[in-house]
């Protein structure tokens, strides 16, 4: 693969004069002859290599050690008991907004329990829970504008829920019925909504990351005061796509927030086997982009960080990296049994000692916005809402067989039209063999 490229590079090197006149190079490297001249006479000469922002020369050989710097601190606003730690960091959200956040987090938690069980009962084929990561979803989503474009990985149901995706819509997608906006095309949890600017989830890991940089480029060109938000995990950050996404977002100066949910595991791979550095936030510096690490179980910390990141992204048109530290309490998916690689005690610790939902509840109680009675009534109500949506979705018809042929191309090609007609005739002729009553009819 290298041979042609090397040839091209060689050809380029033959023509230095052609390139030296290009303004783009000069604009990124302001190299002034007079300042360079002056340097000659100064005692402390500074390196002028174009590829580095070097502070000076080093007279003794010294490597930068991976442990040379202290780890990156984790930003938080709330203590585990739900107390505001620094008054000036309080986002000062009003009661309605905070209760709405809490309700979104708990509704998702309830929905997860029911859909997880329904998969175990064989009612749906697959599911992924969001247990323990509710704070990263709702905290970030609440700080965004509804017009911001979301490129998710697959465990961001709370973001979509906050944006207004209804319980019915979640259920319809998981059941793949005729009401599913995705027409039953995808595995459960591969949600998408053009209306809510949430791009359809795609299974291959990290492909959304360079796509987010590309979409941010489109936003930049459109000149809108919007940004792209790209969610990914500690495992996805190891994919080559992640490098391309971060590097190109930085060099293109595009408004995108890379939001890493560092939940400790990529399926079974723990973070200490995933990377040797200080998490994902430490990589931001290398790419020349703003980065911050936050406590993902502190919904206010996530909110503040995302809001500030959004400001930077839009006002300065540049990428920002947020690493939200959290813990995946559930299994990776219903295809995984995490007891094979982690202890029950470890999971129990996060579930009982450091859960984003209980932390926010503690805060709400300290404000007298919430109490045991309200909690009890809400848990009954939300379970009822989820069950109703669940039952409705289960009873709905399956999509029309016509959908088998639609949407592969913008207009259905002749060959597919012929196949469609053939299938229609066939099903009509042998109708006693087909359960047509559970499907929407063919469209003409």
């Amino acid at each position: 693969m290298a041979s042609i490229r090397h040839f091209c590079r060689f050809a380029r090197s033959l023509k230095p004069s052609y390139y030296s006149s290009k303004p783009i190079i000069q604009s990124t490297r302001t190299f002034s002859v007079t300042s360079w001249h002056r340097q000659l006479y100064e005692e402390e000469e500074k390196p002028q290599f174009p590829g580095a922002k070097s502070a000076g020369y080093m007279k003794k050989l010294e490597f930068i050690k991976p442990n040379q710097y202290d780890g990156i601190p984790t930003y938080r606003v709330l203590s585990r008991k739900g107390e505001i730690l620094e008054a000036d960091q309080d986002p000062n959200l009003d009661e309605d907004y905070v209760v709405r956040m809490y309700k979104a987090m708990t509704t998702m938690n309830t929905m997860d329990k029911i859909l997880y069980e329904s998969q175990r009962q064989g009612r749906i084929s697959f599911y992924m829970t969001n247990f323990g990561e509710e704070g990263t979803h709702v905290g970030s989503a609440a700080a965004l504008d509804g017009g911001d474009l979301v490129f998710g990985q697959y465990r961001e149901a709370g973001v979509l829920m906050w944006r207004g995706f209804k319980l019915d819509q979640f259920m319809n997608q998981c059941y793949g019925n005729t009401l599913d906006v995705g027409k039953g095309r995808q595995m459960p949890v591969h949600y998408g909504s053009q209306e809510l600017n949430f791009y359809t989830i795609s299974s291959p890991l990290a492909t959304q990351m360079p796509q987010a940089s590309g979409a941010a480029y489109a936003l930049k060109r459109a000149g809108k005061d919007l940004c792209v938000v790209c969610y990914f995990g500690d495992g996805a950050a190891s994919e080559g796509d992640a490098h391309a996404a971060l590097n190109f977002a930085a060099t293109l100066d595009v408004p995108v927030i890379f939001f890493c949910r560092n939940n400790g595991y990529a399926i079974s791979t723990p973070t200490h086997e995933q990377y040797r550095g200080d998490g994902i936030a430490s990589r931001g510096h290398g790419y020349g982009i703003y980065s911050v690490r936050v406590d993902g179980n502190d919904v206010f910390a996530v909110y503040n960080a995302t809001k500030a990141a959004r400001n930077i992204a839009i006002k300065e048109s540049r990428p920002v990296l947020i690493e939200a530290m959290t813990y995946r309490i559930g299994h990776h998916s219903t295809s995984d049994d995490s007891s094979a690689y982690r202890s029950v005690d470890e999971v129990h610790y996060w579930d009982k000692q450091d859960h984003p939902i209980s932390r926010l509840r503690n805060y709400m109680m300290s404000q007298d916005w919430w109490d045991a009675d309200k909690e009890k009534a809400w848990m009954v109500e939300t379970r009822e809402n989820v069950m109703q949506a669940f039952q409705k979705a289960e009873k709905s018809l399956k999509p029309s067989p016509t959908e088998l042929f639609a949407d592969v191309y913008d207009e259905m090609p002749k060959r597919l039209q012929q196949q469609h007609e053939e299938m229609k005739r066939h099903v009509e002729q042998y109708k006693e063999y087909y359960p047509s009553e559970i499907y929407e009819p063919f469209r003409s």
């Binding site: 693969m1 041979s3 042609i4 490229r5 091209c8 380029r12 390139y19 290009k22 783009i24 474009l149 490129f151 599913d180 906006v181 995705g182 027409k183 095309r185 995808q186 591969h190 998408g192 909504s193 053009q194 791009y199 359809t200 795609s202 299974s203 291959p204 492909t207 959304q208 990351m209 360079p210 796509q211 987010a212 940089s213 590309g214 979409a215 941010a216 480029y217 489109a218 936003l219 060109r221 459109a222 792209v228 080559g240 796509d241 490098h243 391309a244 996404a245 590097n247 190109f248 060099t251 293109l252 959908e403 639609a406 949407d407 592969v408 191309y409 913008d410 090609p413 060959r415």
Partner: protein, 361 residues
């Protein structure tokens, strides 16, 4: 071989070329000459001009004018906003193009050669080709992946392969493979305007070839419908169906055999997917013989698809002898020039096959 019968006129400046053509056409319709390179360059230039959303990205496409100079002058004309140099990561910039397309732009993503597209094939197939379907029609990915495809010269195993069969295998993609300057202009312009992801398979060895182009072809509105083949030469004894560079070899062979009284019909597929099988079928019903010619490998290749379609169709009964595939040899491309040459179908292979199929000694 094919160069021998064509007037090769290397034109380096497409813009003056186009103007030239118009000036001359005022009285007598004299055709201008245009290289495939200039045809692609002018198509890109016009579509970038026509639609604000269109932009080109790829390795070295801007300042360096593209590794094969297809984007010559475009960066100087259109600037950083429309012509973007990317870091060397095919998977990354293909993904960036897919994301930009999802968000409403119309990227043209250049692979320095299609061999490198293998690095990005997940983005091309799992994201670009399937997103419309997977999002239930909500998210369109209007994107063009283009670059040189197939064997070049002396670049050995990893740089000499045809991706026509690979990409045409996948529903959700459209795949075109231009032969002439006319094809290159019309198909690239149609690809850029198409709402679906389209793979445009060019051929490096054809970039410098000149073809006659009429005023119609030079018109900014000139389009070639994707999914339609072109009968390049009519004939009555046998059908030769091919795409890309090998169309030219088939035309040379047809001319040569004509002197022996054998009349070959030559079909230029233009599109690999959708495949215009109707044109092939009608031709076979007339000639009763078929040979497919391509540079790609035999197994599950373009020729294999054509012959399978033929055996499934009513035209099968019109065949007077078994249809035949001529393909690249079923080996990684050798580096040695002589072996490289014999690994690809050449004139004498086609002549031999025609005589065999027709039962002529």
């Amino acid at each position: 071989m094919m160069a021998a019968i064509r007037t090769v006129q290397l034109s380096r400046n497409v813009f003056s070329k186009a103007v030239f053509g118009r000036n001359f056409s005022l009285s007598v319709p004299v055709s201008a000459q245009m290289t495939v390179r200039d045809a692609l360059n002018s198509a890109l230039d016009e579509e970038i001009d026509r639609d604000e959303r269109v932009f080109l990205l790829g390795e070295e496409v801007a300042m360096y004018d593209g590794a094969y100079k297809i984007s010559r002058g475009l960066w100087r004309k259109w600037g950083d906003k429309r012509i973007i140099d990317t870091p060397i990561t095919e998977m990354g910039f293909a993904g960036i193009a897919v994301g930009a397309a999802m968000a409403g732009l119309r990227p043209v993503c250049e692979f320095m050669t299609f061999n490198f597209s293998m690095q990005a094939i997940d983005q091309v197939i799992n994201s670009a080709a399937k997103t419309l379907y997977m999002s239930a029609g909500q998210v369109q990915v209007p994107i063009v992946f283009r670059g040189p495809n197939g064997a070049a010269a002396g670049v050995a195993a990893q740089h000499s392969q045809c991706f026509a069969a690979w990409y045409s295998h996948c529903p959700g993609l459209k795949v075109v493979s231009p032969y002439s300057a006319e094809d290159a202009r019309g198909l690239l312009k149609s690809a850029i305007r198409d709402p679906n992801p389209v793979v445009v398979l060019e051929n490096e060895l054809m970039y410098g070839h000149s073809f006659e182009v009429s005023d119609g072809i030079l018109s900014p509105d000139f389009l070639i419908p994707i999914g339609k083949a072109k009968v390049e030469r009519e004939g009555s004894n046998i059908t030769l169906v091919s795409h890309s560079k090998h169309v030219g070899i088939c035309l040379d062979v047809a001319k040569e055999l004509n002197e022996d009284g054998i009349s070959c019909e030559v079909i230029n597929l233009r599109s690999i997917r959708p495949l215009d099988f109707d044109t092939i079928k009608e031709s076979v019903k007339k000639t009763h013989h078929l040979i497919s010619v391509e540079g790609g490998w035999p197994q599950s290749g373009v020729g294999a698809e054509i012959l399978a379609c033929l055996s499934e169709s009513d035209a099968f009964d019109y065949l007077d002898s078994p249809a035949v595939r001529l393909t690249g040899a079923d080996v990684p491309m050798p580096y040695a020039a002589t072996l490289e040459q014999t690994s690809l179908p050449q004139s004498h292979n086609i002549v031999g096959a025609v005589k065999r199929v027709l039962g002529i000694q």
